[in-house]
């Protein structure tokens, strides 16, 4: 580890989902973050996507909360329109130079009303819409952009191109935010570490005119299709033929455009995400166009991630997507019609022609030029495929110490893996900069809270004009006069922009001046602005719960723009409702629970050890519980990673570090047998082999119990000695066993126990592993015949190079289908393998000396038990189920618990390591705090009404309610009541909706408040 100076701040280059995740994890665990974005707003590619696989979640909706969190985090400094020009210094102490392009819009003044865009006369292609829509020269990258500030595209702006002309935006901007004199700025920032997360670009088929792209507008890319399908896209989700607006009835997807093809596009690797994204688009497009036929033309279906194979099967059987394995020959326009003729050679070797209305090219991912420049500036090594070079055991570390990566810069990957790497990079940085934790971060400080319990209700109302957004429709003067007449209102004020900095100060002052104790802000939506105003109340010494917002913009002025009278009347109602509600508002403290700043890791394999070691090196005490008497887990059975690193050497090093780390307490031959507590406060009981028990207190826990190899029940395994599993084969080969040494013909059979009824998932590692073994065999002796019988060759990402090498070496790949599995029979010393030959239309017989079965990875039997103990779920296959497949890939929905490694899903070493680091980073966000603050919105029991019927206990999704018996008081009989564990309660109020006695309510949403709101709503 590097000695010397450690600066407690980090620069993250790239504001896509990976960079955002890293930023949040670091800022939440005591490090100051500079988040650098090249464009005008963070969000990366995710904000362009319509839906995400395999859950079909709306992409924007699931990333938006993270964007907002980044935007307002006290310890994250967003710098947009910036590029890195120099990085000097060493790990722990870097100086980074940034060049910031002018925005020409003053971020402090812009209120994003959008009037500038309306008057801007210049229209150009919108890159956010992948070129299919138009935008103005002054624009927002996307409607929910963070920061929500307009920017001027200098290349398109008329006023900037010819000074003195146009300038319409400047004239209409009430806030005076337009600044044509804005200039480029240079920043020099000192940070302890740098994370590179610049993302990728999609392959552009235009220059090469691949598959006719550019010759016919009915050939589009998959990213363009996303924009067509998006309801916020240029066509509002309507899919028509771009060329002539005709309906689309038959649509074709062409896979691997810009991937797996060095000759046509220069990218030999597999882009890893396009199969799934094409399936998703094919399924969703059918929702948009009834009766639409979709066909996917592919070489191998690579759906290797969690839940992906099931998605594929559903697409095939339920949605009716057609899958055609083929070699594409060409795409031509059919005369005048604009239809497209596809020529391809199908699986049986037949040449086929077919017509389509629309052709979608599933374009691959590649490293953009500017990122190559960044890599050069950062002085890091790249792979042959132009991705950052990393070790399989340190997947987020670059070749330069102190510089880390996450996301697609280190190889093409999907959203969950990018999020995992974002957290993993955060863990690696936190390890490096641990001594400087909390040195540069700030904690919000608030004055002591005023006790208002004895005060009469004094309501202050602030009406926001929001520029002209509200005031342009609602008669705010009339509104102000009206609301002044409402009961208990002592002060009403109007603000041009209630969210601006000066308005906050004025509100604080008025609270003091008029001794206000309830505040109504009539403005926009609480979903974006309530946190801001709550903060303002706190600064003014008022409890944050004494606030209510009346949404007179989004729910009124904007939606009734053509009826000002109606809108003004409705605004009166909305404010009256807010006043009625806030009158019954009560103070509530966000409860804080002290944290045991220790971690517990269950499982001593690579994932468990990596997580434990990282937490320890971040400065936390860790308990590592291992079921057996040895550390190492499944990795002890693997020889090389796909990148060629010797696994056992690396694992030995890891074990050494874990054993010699003072902060790690290892409990071998032990299992967890009991659990109590919640986030920050777990008590886990562990029991050793000889029955001794210990209770460990910990603030967070990581489940990394691994998986196990399935035992084959087919292919004569167990009855023919030459039929072995891949793990057995590796052992025999390593021992130079004579059968292996002398054998001339080897057959590998893939997907043994994977991707079939009951186990509809891909074990992810077996294709690569078999290909690697086959290469070794062939290299040892080129005279050997090596066959691989496979269903889809899933050497995803940069592993594709192994597949290519294998084919070059003459290894024979034969495809089989699930309904035509190979047959294995014994014939003396030889084994006969029979497989259907698609080209010759007859069975092919291979006389093999050895048959190697690529067996599936299964979850461990004890997974369910651990799941029950910690209240964390397992999925239908028995793997642990994360909180959110996309955005919380290592979190459990039970707060404070995390998952890593094979226990989550089959995966190769480097993904296990990344996931372990990620889990550790997530755990550190809890452990780094002396206490955890919980939300104020909590259920409270009213003992007077509660009769202990316990109905609420059944419906509470978080098991936060328990029954208890109150001892008899003053001769009364003992009473049954419920109690809420506030730490577990999330404030959903399902209990309140269920309680027949009004015995339980949620702060800020009590029945009294809602009834008052109803009364006020219906009084007008």
């Amino acid at each position: 580890m590097t000695e010397g100076k450690k600066i407690g701040s980090v620069m993250i280059v790239g504001g896509g989902v990976a960079g955002i995740q890293a930023a949040l994890d670091l800022a939440d665990s005591g490090f100051y973050v500079y988040l650098i974005e090249k464009t005008g707003a963070i969000g990366g590619t995710m904000v362009q996507l319509d839906k995400t696989f395999p859950t079909n979640d709306c992409s924007m909706c699931i990333i938006a909360p993270k964007l907002v969190e980044c935007g307002r985090h006290l310890n994250i400094h967003l710098l947009t329109l910036c590029e890195v020009t120099e990085i000097t210094g060493v790990a722990g102490d870097f100086a980074v130079t940034l060049r910031q392009s002018p925005r020409y819009v003053d971020m402090n003044k812009c209120i994003a009303c959008g009037i500038c865009t309306d008057v801007c006369p210049k229209k150009i292609d919108n890159d956010h819409d992948s070129g299919i829509g138009k935008r103005r020269a002054i624009y927002l990258r996307y409607p929910q952009a963070v920061p929500l500030k307009y920017q001027i595209d200098p290349a398109a702006c008329i006023g900037l191109q010819r000074p003195g002309t146009c300038g319409f935006c400047e004239k209409v901007c009430d806030a005076g935010a337009i600044n044509f004199a804005d200039v480029e700025k240079i920043h020099r920032i000192n940070v302890g570490a740098v994370i590179l997360a610049p993302g990728f670009e999609v392959f552009d088929p235009k220059p090469s005119g691949m598959w006719g792209y550019g010759t016919n507008a009915n050939i589009i890319t998959s990213l363009q299709l996303e924009r067509y399908l998006s309801t916020s896209g240029p066509t509002e989700g309507h899919l028509k033929r771009p060329l002539d607006g005709k309906p689309v009835r038959k649509m074709a997807f062409l896979q691997c455009v810009g991937s797996r093809d060095e000759n046509l596009c220069g990218n030999g690797y597999c882009s890893s995400v396009c199969c799934m994204s094409a399936i998703k688009e094919a399924v969703l497009a059918k929702d948009h166009v009834p009766g639409l036929q979709t066909s996917i033309f592919y070489m191998d279906m690579r759906t290797h991630g969690k839940g992906f194979d099931q998605y594929l099967e559903q697409a095939r059987s339920e949605a009716g997507v057609r899958f055609v394995r083929c070699r594409m020959g060409g795409v031509e326009t059919d005369g005048e019609s604009g239809d497209l003729r596809l020529r391809y050679v199908n699986e049986n070797g037949r040449q086929i022609e077919e017509f389509f209305d629309l052709v979608v090219l599933a374009v691959g991912l590649q490293t953009p030029k500017h990122v190559l420049g960044l890599a050069h500036v950062a002085d890091i090594k790249l792979t042959a495929d132009n991705f950052a070079a990393t070790s399989d055991f340190a997947p987020v570390k670059t070749s330069r110490e102190g510089i880390f990566t996450c996301g697609a810069i280190a190889g093409p990957k999907d959203i969950p893996q990018s999020v995992v790497e974002g957290s993993a990079a955060a863990a690696a940085v936190a390890e490096l900069l641990a001594p400087a934790r909390n040195e540069l971060t700030v904690l919000p400080k608030f004055p002591e809270e005023r006790d208002i319990s004895g005060e009469e209700v004094r309501i202050g109302i602030f009406i926001c004009h929001c520029g002209t957004n509200i005031a342009g429709v609602v008669d705010v003067k009339v509104l102000a006069e009206y609301v002044m007449t409402l009961p208990d209102v002592v002060h009403v004020d109007r603000k041009l922009f209630s969210c601006s900095q000066d308005s906050q100060e004025s509100i604080i002052q008025l609270i003091h001046e008029h001794r206000l104790n309830r505040i109504v802000i009539a403005a926009c939506t609480p979903r974006t602005h309530e946190p801001l105003f709550r903060e303002t109340l706190k600064v003014a010494g008022l409890n944050e719960c004494l606030l209510e917002m009346a949404n007179i913009r989004n729910h009124n002025a904007w939606v009734h723009g053509n009826n000002p009278t109606g809108a003004t009347n409705k605004a009166k109602d909305l404010v009256r409702m807010a006043v009625a509600k806030v009158t019954f508002g009560q103070s509530s403290q966000a409860i804080a629970v002290p944290v045991f700043q220790k971690g517990l890791v269950i499982g001593g394999g690579v994932a468990g050890m990596t997580a434990a070691l990282n937490l320890a090196q971040q400065g936390f005490e860790v308990h590592l519980v291992e079921r057996t008497d040895t550390l190492g887990g499944n990795a002890l059975n693997i020889k090389y990673t796909w990148g060629g690193e010797h696994v056992r050497t690396q694992v030995a090093k890891l074990i050494d570090k874990v054993i010699w780390n003072d902060r790690i307490v290892i409990h071998k031959e032990s299992i967890v047998t009991g659990v109590a507590g919640f986030i920050g406060n777990f008590h886990s009981t562990i029991t050793s082999k000889n029955g001794e028990t210990k209770v460990i207190e910990h603030g967070a826990g990581i489940v990394a119990i691994g998986g196990e190899a399935a035992v084959p029940s087919e292919y004569s395994y167990g009855s023919i000695t030459g039929v072995v599993t891949s793990v057995q084969f590796d052992k025999l080969h390593e021992l130079k066993e004579k059968h292996v040494k002398l054998a001339k013909r080897f057959v590998f059979i893939q997907c043994v126990g994977s991707r079939e009824e009951g186990h509809m998932y891909c074990s992810k590692v077996c294709c690569t592993h078999s290909v690697q073994s086959a290469i070794t065999l062939k290299k040892e002796n080129p005279d050997r015949n090596v066959y691989i019988l496979y269903r889809d060759m899933r050497t995803y990402g940069q592993r594709e190079s192994l597949y290519k090498e294998a084919r070059k070496l003459g290894i024979i790949f034969i495809n089989y289908e699930l309904h035509g599995k190979p047959r294995v029979t014994g014939r003396g010393a030889e084994i006969e393998v029979e497989v259907w030959d698609h080209v010759l239309h007859q069975p092919l017989l291979i006389a093999a000396y050895m048959v190697i079965l690529a067996v599936a990875i299964r979850p461990r039997q004890d997974a369910e038990k651990i799941g029950t103990l910690y209240k964390v779920p397992v999925d239908g296959h028995g793997f642990f189920h994360e909180a959110h497949g996309k955005l919380r890939p290592v979190d459990f929905s039970t707060e404070g618990m995390f998952v890593a490694g094979l226990a989550h899903y089959p995966k190769p070493v480097e993904e296990s390591v990344a996931q372990a680091l990620a889990a550790s980073a997530r755990a550190a966000t809890i452990l780094a705090q002396p206490e955890v603050k919980l939300d104020t919105i909590k259920a409270i029991v009213d003992d007077e009404f509660c009769d202990g019927c316990a109905l609420c206990i059944d419906v509470c999704p978080y098991h936060a309610i328990t029954l208890f018996e109150q001892a008899a008081v003053d001769g009364e009989a003992p009473k049954k009541l419920v109690r809420v564990n506030v730490a577990q309660c999330k404030g959903c109020g399902i209990c309140q909706g269920t309680c027949p006695k009004r015995g339980i309510y949620v702060v800020g949403f009590t029945m009294k408040q809602v009834v008052a709101q109803l009364q006020a709503a219906l009084a007008g």
Binding site: C58, T528, N551, W558, P957, I990
Partner: protein, 139 residues
């Protein structure tokens, strides 16, 4: 003046309220008659609130939540759905038409679903009320 109904819409914070926000951002237009009450989850809406709203003179009550399976609190909307039968029975007993109460599921990215729910409900209520006007039932 034309009859302007008053509709109470209980919206869950995570999807339906957000969709209503987005309808605003997109400047979609719908009848002014709706009054949104923000709840944390559709499962938070007590059946009593629906009854009380109608008793107080609301022309219709809507509960809007996340799409089934997408509730922010796991299955709050399923709970709301399960309770809705009971609500309908209750309304029957009290002599309210079924059409005065409805449930809607939508994602935070579906402002158009929100808008059409509002527009349709306002229409429906207008028709219901027109039926009753002759005998002076409602105004």
């Amino acid at each position: 003046m034309a009859f302007e109904p008053k509709i109470i819409a209980f919206c869950c914070n995570w999807c339906s309220y957000a969709a209503a926000d987005l309808a605003g951002t997109a400047r979609m237009q719908y009848p002014e008659s709706v009054r949104i009450i923000r709840m944390m989850c559709s499962g938070m809406v007590h059946p009593q609130l629906v009854v009380e709203a109608l008793n107080m003179g609301a022309d219709a009550v809507m509960i809007l939540g996340c799409r089934l399976g997408e509730c922010h609190y796991q299955d709050g909307n399923h709970k709301a759905l399960a309770r809705s039968d009971m609500i309908v029975e209750l309304l029957d007993d009290l002599g309210y038409e079924r059409d005065r109460f409805s449930l809607h599921w939508l994602s935070s990215a579906e402002p158009h679903v929100f808008v059409s729910a509002m527009t349709e409900t306002a229409e429906r209520v207008r028709r219901l009320s027109a039926l009753q006007l002759p005998d002076g039932g409602e105004s």
